[in-house]
């Protein structure tokens, strides 16, 4: 799921901390954001905007963290909406609903593990590229 290609330059201690924080931001936001998945997305988006003028390494990882949140956001919003329609609406707990919720839990756990891993690695100054989000970030963040 993750790769360790070398970055164009070796980031310094300050950059590594900043880049790591971009992932930690979404991890911390997960705790508040579980019932409201938009919180994670907003947190990483704010962090990305705040570091818009930061170095390439920092911007790159902020964008990767943001994209990963952008991926889970529609999944989680659908899950929350579906749950609310069951609790307050006329929908019932169907096999399809349970299957969907299990799927998004699995994807969220995978994303959570990858985020923690990326936070630890970037803090050490290592460059981590996620599957899909890495190549996508390269397209969006130019040196």
């Amino acid at each position: 799921m993750t790769e360790h290609p070398s970055f164009s330059y070796t980031p310094n201690e300050y950059e590594a901390e900043k880049a790591s924080n971009s992932y930690l931001m979404s991890v911390i936001a997960v705790m508040i954001g579980l019932p409201l998945p938009v919180i994670n997305l907003i947190a990483t988006a704010i962090f990305f905007i705040a570091n818009k003028r930061a170095t390439h390494f920092v911007r790159w990882h902020c964008m990767q963290a943001l994209l990963s949140q952008g991926f889970t956001f529609p999944m989680n919003v659908t899950g929350v909406y579906w749950t609310l329609s069951i609790v307050f609406g006329a929908n019932i707990i169907s096999n399809n609903y349970i299957a969907y919720m299990t799927t998004i839990v699995v994807f969220n756990i995978a994303e959570f593990i990858a985020t923690v891993y990326a936070a630890v690695q970037t803090r050490k100054g290592n460059h981590v590229e996620w599957w899909l989000f890495g190549p996508l970030t390269h397209l969006l963040i130019k040196a």
């Binding site: 991926f71 609790v87 096999n95 899909l132």
Partner: protein
């Protein structure tokens, strides 16, 4: 760019594939959701029924109940619906109304019986309510109106009598969704035709109900709960043409009048609880 598309496609396939494969498992049976739902529904039905019985007289005489149960049985048997799962309750209230409760209880007001010009008309209302039960509209309506949390609280028996009273009011005097009403009408017509009861009687009933509303002092709850009676009657006539059936009247008008008189007599008696 190609790499991104390949990865995105693979991830989408993984996501939807996982969802699809997990969806093949019958969780409802594994977690016994069906049974729990039925159990709660039964509890809820009994609770609401108790509230109805407390505030109104219930007619339990065999001579009256057996006639209505006979109509219900004829419709159920012709349509492969287990007749014993539906219980009919006749309540002494002048309102022209009938409604389904959770747990497959069918409440019919004496006002409706006395208003129907024939047993076939009453059969139309019964078929419509059975259709609501078959589609589980009652529970869906309750969950939508008062929320799943409240429905669970109610079925646990921990709720106050005021909540139960409001629930009775909700089920007896508010409409289902338009689509649900149409669905129940369409199935009702089909049930009647299968039981060789002419659905024309249902259309006549609705036309009459709609036209007579302003001339009679009776309370037409059915009109409040089932809007656009004229449109519904027209739709029933349209649906009737698509059905093939041999009309067999439930009973002749003399027998029906005698039955209505018997119901009226029970209503006027004091020992009908």
């Amino acid at each position: 760019m190609k790499k991104v598309f390949t990865h995105a496609l693979f991830l989408s396939v993984t996501f939807f594939g996982t969802w699809y494969l997990l969806g093949l498992v019958d969780y409802r049976s594994i977690f016994n959701i069906e049974e729990l739902t039925k159990e709660n529904e039964q509890k809820l039905g009994r609770l609401i029924l108790d509230a109805v019985a407390k505030s109104n007289k219930t007619i339990t005489q065999d001579s009256v109940v057996s006639v209505i149960s006979g109509i219900k049985k004829r419709i159920c048997e012709a349509n492969g619906i287990p007749d014993s799962t539906i219980t009919v309750h006749i309540v002494s209230v002048d309102d022209v109304n009938a409604f389904a409760l959770p747990g497959r209880h069918l409440v019919i007001y004496s006002g409706l019986i006395n208003y129907c010009a024939s047993a076939d008309e009453l059969a139309g209302v019964i078929a419509h309510e059975i259709a609501h039960m078959q589609y589980d509209h009652v529970m869906k309506k309750m969950i939508k109106e008062i929320g799943l949390a409240m429905v669970i609280t109610l079925s646990g028996g921990d709720s106050g009598s005021e909540i139960v009273r409001q629930t009775v009011k909700l089920l007896s005097s508010t409409a289902f969704e338009r689509e649900q009403e149409s669905e129940a009408d369409a199935s009702g017509v089909h049930y009647l035709a299968k039981a060789d009861i002419d659905p024309q009687a249902s259309a006549d009933f609705l036309f009459r109900l709609s036209h007579e509303k302003e001339n009679i002092s009776l309370q037409f709850e059915l009109l409040n709960t089932h809007p656009n009676s004229n449109d519904r009657a027209a739709e029933i006539i349209k649906l009737r043409k698509q059905e093939i059936f041999t009309s067999r009247q439930i009973c002749d008008s003399i027998s029906w009048k005698k039955f209505q008189a018997a119901v009226l007599q029970r209503v006027s008696e004091k020992d009908v609880f």
